[in-house]
């Protein structure tokens, strides 16, 4: 934190995203723990990007629980700080991205590991009773509990194994489409 020497790693602004030479510019520290995970699940996992302090892995939904368990047991990532649900109507899929962070290991305190998976999307959703389902990660990362409840009501992704799949923010009698789907239109827009 001192003022003069050691500008500790450049905050990820534009500087390091401009050179796009993959091999040489891939940050070594990030690559080391990503490789550890990828080597374990070589077929079912795909690296979307490795940037300074930010990494993203795409995982098949059948394997997401195993991957999360492996990460919880073998890496310092100990909590999920954000879960994003995204509607991709063109791919007929709904994506869910878990952002994992670490409080316990100071070396990892800058790192955010994103685990992304996709669930099938139905044209006429019937939340909870259609094929839009994903396994819940609540047993591994407890902090996803409310985030997953929010995604269930906002996008209609039912999380198998979640103990409390109730609505959180929406009214109990909400009977419209899940509102964060792209086909739910804002009035006047």
């Amino acid at each position: 934190m001192s003022t003069t020497e050691t500008k500790v790693p450049p905050k990820h602004t534009k500087k390091e995203t401009v050179p796009e030479k993959t091999e040489d510019t891939t940050p070594a520290f990030e690559k080391s723990f990503v490789d550890q995970i990828v080597n374990q699940f070589s077929d079912d996992i795909e690296i979307e990007y490795i940037k300074e302090n930010r990494t993203k892995l795409k995982v098949k939904k059948e394997k997401i629980v195993d991957v999360a368990k492996f990460i919880k047991d073998n890496t310092p990532f100990d909590h999920a700080e954000s879960v994003t649900g995204v509607d991709f109507p063109d791919d007929k899929e709904i994506g869910v991205t878990y952002h994992l962070g670490s409080y316990t290991d100071p070396d990892y305190s800058k790192q955010v590991l994103a685990l992304a998976t996709r669930a099938p999307r139905e044209e006429t959703p019937n939340p909870g009773n259609d094929s839009t389902k994903l396994p819940s990660l609540r047993n591994m990362f407890y902090s996803v509990e409310f985030h997953e409840r929010e995604i269930f009501e906002m996008l209609g992704v039912y999380f198998d194994g979640h103990p409390d799949n109730r609505r959180l923010l929406l009214p109990e009698d909400w009977a419209d489409l899940p509102p964060l789907r792209k086909d739910f239109k804002n009035k006047g827009r």
């Binding site: 905050k11 602004t13 100990d78 909590h79 954000s82 994003t84 952002h99 509102p179």
Partner: protein, 382 residues
């Protein structure tokens, strides 16, 4: 308690509730249990809470949905609405994220102005929160003092931005306008007085034996649980975890300033109410350093192109707000609007701890525990 068997299968999202004569269900809220609409469904056995179920959503405004149909600039005023008292900090991750997406550099002076505005805003928020904590515990003086002292910084923000709250001051590329000519002197004077003033809170509030008797050992959150539940900000730091985004992942010029975290080990309501107060003292230090190091002249804004677009990209940036870390996840698809914008805010993340803390507490301790979570209902609902 006999299990009620539903006659037909319940649709997902609804559940059957079993009724027990011994247990009484209380609805606390949704008409302002403290500040902001929020309901806590509390089940009590005599005087003891056996179950608590937070029910947010009464101030849900669909910020994330709204963001998908507005461009990166017109998103600014509505994204600060979840916490108007802390509007600079809640905008911060969004603005940093858009800068990453669009690829612009921020002038040095603008970075310092942002840090000063963010720290002033943090104090304004914490004072408001503290005032309500005071009134929650029946301590009227602690409502009056912070509510009055925060006017000092509101005046400063009004000088900078022209608005008392809802500043919409940060924009991608810098800040909206420069600080007025003699601002440094006025700011320094106000900050010094403010610091002297909030130190007096110790005498009347934090060292007060009645407050201590009410809040110590109420709602203890252990270090392990704080990590496991993914809590953040003052809740986390009151449980002995040294984590502050300003230090661990410094943004703008926080790495050039001497910032300290305040960590307490107890994890009870008293510690959780004390950490934000210590944070305010720290904010005063940061503001003084930033005023000293700030370049005295220079650009405060890099001009954006009209209708800025990101590529096919995504970005996740986080900052420390008054309530803890706030993350902004923006997914861009070569459009002037974000494809998806997710705000992961401290209030929402800390809410998960509420049922754990309330179980086994006396009902009378509920306000002390609930508001010590540094929870802002409107922010949690977004």
């Amino acid at each position: 308690m006999t299990e009620v068997i539903p006659t037909k299968q319940m649709p997902p999202g609804l559940q059957v509730e079993n009724v027990d004569d011994r247990i009484m269900t209380l609805n606390v809220g949704p008409q302002h249990p403290g500040s902001g609409h929020m309901r806590i469904i509390v089940k009590i056995d005599g005087d003891y809470i056996v179950d608590a179920d937070p029910d947010p959503g009464y101030v849900h405004r669909g910020e994330e949905k709204m963001a998908e149909s507005r461009n990166y600039i017109t998103n600014i005023p509505h994204l600060e609405r979840p916490v108007i008292h802390d509007s600079c900090n809640i905008l911060y991750p969004y603005v940093l994220g858009v800068e990453d997406l669009v690829g612009i550099e921020v002038p040095e002076r603008a970075k310092y102005v942002r840090v000063i505005a963010a720290e002033l805003n943090r104090c304004i928020y914490i004072q408001y929160w503290l005032a309500i904590y005071g009134i929650f515990l029946g301590h009227s003086t602690m409502f009056m003092w912070p509510a009055g002292d925060r006017e000092l910084f509101i005046d400063l923000m009004e000088k900078i931005t022209g608005a008392r709250v809802t500043h919409a001051y940060f924009i991608p590329g810098g800040v909206r306008n420069d600080i007025p000519a003699n601002f440094e002197d006025v700011c320094l004077r106000q900050v010094n007085y403010f610091e002297k003033r909030i130190k007096e809170y110790a005498d009347i509030f934090y060292d007060n034996p009645i407050l201590k008797a009410r809040t110590e050992d109420a709602g203890v959150l252990s270090r392990e649980d704080a990590i496991r539940l993914g809590t953040t900000g003052s809740v986390l730091r009151a449980s002995g975890v040294d984590y502050d985004v300003r230090i661990k992942e410094p943004y703008d010029v926080y790495d050039e300033l001497d910032v300290h975290t305040n960590v307490l080990k107890e994890g009870d309501s008293y510690a959780r109410s004390k950490v934000p107060w210590l944070d305010m003292l720290e904010s005063c230090n940061i503001i003084r350093q930033a005023l000293e190091k700030m370049p005295k002249s220079g650009s405060i804004r890099t001009k954006l192109k009209p209708n800025p677009k990101g590529g096919i990209d995504e970005v996740y940036r986080r900052v420390e707000t008054g309530r803890g870390a706030a993350g902004c996840h923006i997914i861009s698809r070569e459009k002037p609007e974000p494809y998806r914008l997710k705000l992961s805010v401290g209030s929402f993340r800390n809410l998960i701890a509420l049922p754990y803390l309330l179980k086994g507490e006396k009902l009378g301790n509920m306000p002390a525990v609930y508001w010590s979570l540094n929870y802002w209902p409107v922010e949690a609902d977004r």
